[in-house]
């Protein structure tokens, strides 16, 4: 029993350390055998998932968990600080990355061949970075972990062929600007507070309020994170990066990166700068919500004009970022709860649709919308998952997308911000068009040997026989994700009252 207790005490460290060490081990093992990389990575992913679930349980029963690295007390040492907010998102992120990892074997082997070890090492490092961002209580540490996640993200996207490297490099430029701006902001904070611990800074700042440096630091941090989360008009890097990367990568990066960055925004705003400062002392609220409205509208409209499935989904991600940013900056309980709930919901539904798109293009070798022809007959279960994901993005009950939209819209009505309400509804309607356009092609048009005029990697004659339901492990994880959309929807009431409301009123006062 004592040993078990020892383990549970160190859960925050385990979450970050296990994937990190596993990444190193994968790199080493890769020299001996390609085969071992996958089971090792999945094992690490599973441990991280279990640890995050355990941590979530701890937070639910005992409240905030603080883990001091090296035993140094804050504000001198670095602490991992886990409260209701990040433990919830931690579980979601661990779950999404685990599901995607578990279903990645066949596609990764096909995509990367002998480089598969590099892929898994990067994959684990990427999740390490994300876990770190979620768990850390130190502003500078956040920057480092941000860059760990980003650097591995650049590399993962760049592994792809064709335009992937160019889109990857564009992402490097934008991502570096974002991270460096954030670093600059943290520097400004350090200059005036002399502290890097988030809670500590949050306690010091109110005494220094008239200072313009705080405003500067706030703008820099926020601006940097906006670039990272691809908030319109800083979203330029995202669509191409997600479109041209290998599909196992886009189904990892697309659900998680933007969501974790939104968490970072919530954390930085509420813990470092505090609610009072962000919403009462400076008047950014209204312009930011309007920016989110624009993001939603532009993202939705751009998605309409796409002919590639993944690119269409990427623009939906841009719109979804607008949902969360807008909801958060409404500044009321419903809107902020909706934004936080949408972080986890959107992570899962984006995972579901991107995995489905990955499974489809794995079989058809193409991601143009025209390649969907006849897919309801060829790959019924994959399309079924796609339908559930689509319905969730549209916001049809009882999928989880409906419930976060419910909170977001009620937040909008409560705040009297009808522009935001209208944008949400318009985007739902556009999503109907987007998804049912795909479903129509897949449902009404008979499967044709060659999709479009560019034939895929396979010969047209081969296609009819090779285009069958996705491989079992891919399918199982995909269907799990799809079913979770409904499960999450049904439990969203619990999640909001038992978890999210613990954070939102405490922080908003």
């Amino acid at each position: 029993m004592a040993s078990l207790e020892g383990v549970t005490q160190h859960l925050p460290a385990i979450i970050v350390a296990v994937p990190l060490l596993a990444a190193l081990a994968v790199t080493a093992l890769w020299w001996f055998s390609n085969k071992l990389c996958y089971p090792l990575s999945v094992g690490a992913g599973l441990i991280a998932l279990a640890a995050s679930a355990g941590l979530f349980q701890q937070v639910l029963s005992y409240g905030v968990v603080e883990y001091r690295l090296g035993g140094w007390p804050p504000p001198w040492g670095i602490v991992f600080r886990v409260d209701h907010l990040n433990s919830l998102i931690l579980v979601a992120v661990a779950l999404v990355s685990f599901l995607n990892l578990a279903g990645s074997r066949v596609a990764a082997e096909k995509e990367f061949q002998e480089k598969v070890g590099a892929f898994y090492a990067l994959y684990l490092l990427f999740t390490t970075g994300l876990f770190g961002i979620l768990i850390t209580g130190d502003a500078f540490n956040l920057y480092v972990l941000l860059e760990i996640a980003s650097l591995t993200g650049y590399a993962l996207i760049g592994i792809g062929s064709g335009r992937a490297s160019l889109s990857g490099l564009n992402y490097v430029f934008m991502g570096t600007i974002g991270a460096t701006l954030y670093l600059f902001g943290v520097g400004c904070l350090y200059v005036i507070t002399g502290s890097l611990n988030m809670v500590d800074i949050g306690a010091i700042l109110p005494n220094l309020w008239p200072s313009k440096v705080i405003v500067l630091a706030f703008l820099l941090c926020l601006g940097g994170l906006f670039v990272k989360m691809a908030l319109f008009p800083l979203h330029g890097w995202l669509p191409n990066a997600y479109t041209y990367s290998p599909s196992v990568v886009s189904s990892l990066v697309a659900p998680l990166t933007t969501k974790v960055m939104i968490y970072a925004m919530v954390r930085v705003t509420l813990t470092i700068f505090t609610f009072d400062f962000a919403f009462n002392k400076i008047s950014l609220q209204v312009p930011l919500v309007w920016l989110a409205v624009l993001a939603i509208i532009v993202g939705s409209l751009m998605a309409l004009s796409q002919q590639r499935l993944k690119k269409m989904l990427a623009f939906i991600v841009v719109a979804e970022v607008g949902y969360m940013v807008g909801g958060f900056w409404l500044g009321n309980r419903a809107g902020m709860s909706g934004a936080v709930l949408h972080i986890i919901n959107d992570a899962l539904m984006t995972l579901c649709v991107f995995m489905a798109a990955g499974a489809l293009s794995f079989r058809t070798g193409d991601d143009r919308l025209t390649s969907l022809k006849g897919m309801f007959r060829k790959m019924p279960l994959t399309m079924g998952a796609m339908v559930l994901g689509g319905l969730s993005l549209i916001g049809v009950p009882p999928t989880c997308g409906f419930f976060s939209k419910w909170y977001l819209i009620s937040g909008g009505i409560e705040a009297g911000h009808y522009g935001f309400v209208a944008a949400l509804i318009i985007s739902s309607l556009v999503n109907i068009v987007l998804f049912f356009r795909c479903f129509e092609i897949a449902y009404f048009e008979p499967f044709s040997g060659s999709a479009g005029h560019q034939s895929g990697p396979m010969e047209p004659d081969d296609r009819s026989s090779t285009v069958v339901e996705a491989p079992a492990d891919m399918l199982i994880t995909l269907l799990t994700a799809a079913v979770l959309l409904i499960v999450l929807g049904i439990f969203s009431g619990q999640i909001v009252t038992r978890v999210i409301h613990q954070v939102i009123p405490a922080l908003t006062g």
């Binding site: 760049g158 160019l166 430029f173 570096t176 460096t180 600059f184 002919q307 143009r368 025209t370």
Partner: protein, 143 residues
């Protein structure tokens, strides 16, 4: 006028940082060559590193190396005598990050060069248009 001069001279480190940031951003936005962009990115990062380094400095202070052993109460330590080591330590990490970023960026640039045979952005765009026409006229779609 005097006031502005003092503002510039007294806070010259900030002005240098801002200048470097602007140069870096300019290169990243305006240059067409990918390697020049990467250089610009590095300048941009270095500017922030210098910013941190400069805020740790104090006039007349020395390196924070304490020669006495612990428990020797003869000398109280005056923080003002030593420069602040923390920003410098932080920047060790930031330098590592920036080197890693540079590495990834260069690797990607190499890949791009192998693929397209050039590092000029406009030429690459042209090749993309020729090679993989993204704006496919969809075959017989009613939508």
């Amino acid at each position: 006028m005097e006031a502005i001069t003092t503002l510039i001279i007294a806070k010259y480190n900030y002005w240098a940082v801002i200048l470097l940031i602007v140069i870096g951003l300019y290169a990243m936005i305006a240059k067409k060559n990918l390697v020049k962009k990467i250089i610009g990115m590095n300048i941009f990062q270095t500017a922030i590193i210098l910013f941190y380094v400069s805020i740790g400095a104090k006039r007349g202070a020395t390196l924070p190396i304490i020669v006495h052993a612990h428990g020797d109460a003869a000398h109280a330590i005056h923080a003002a005598d030593y420069i602040n080591p923390l920003p410098h330590v932080l920047m060790l990490t930031a330098i590592v990050v920036s080197v890693a970023t540079l590495g990834v960026a260069l690797a990607l640039a190499m890949k791009i060069y192998f693929h397209y045979g050039t590092l000029e952005e406009d030429e690459i765009q042209k090749k993309i248009m020729d090679r993989e026409p993204d704006k496919v006229a969809t075959s017989g779609e009613h939508l």
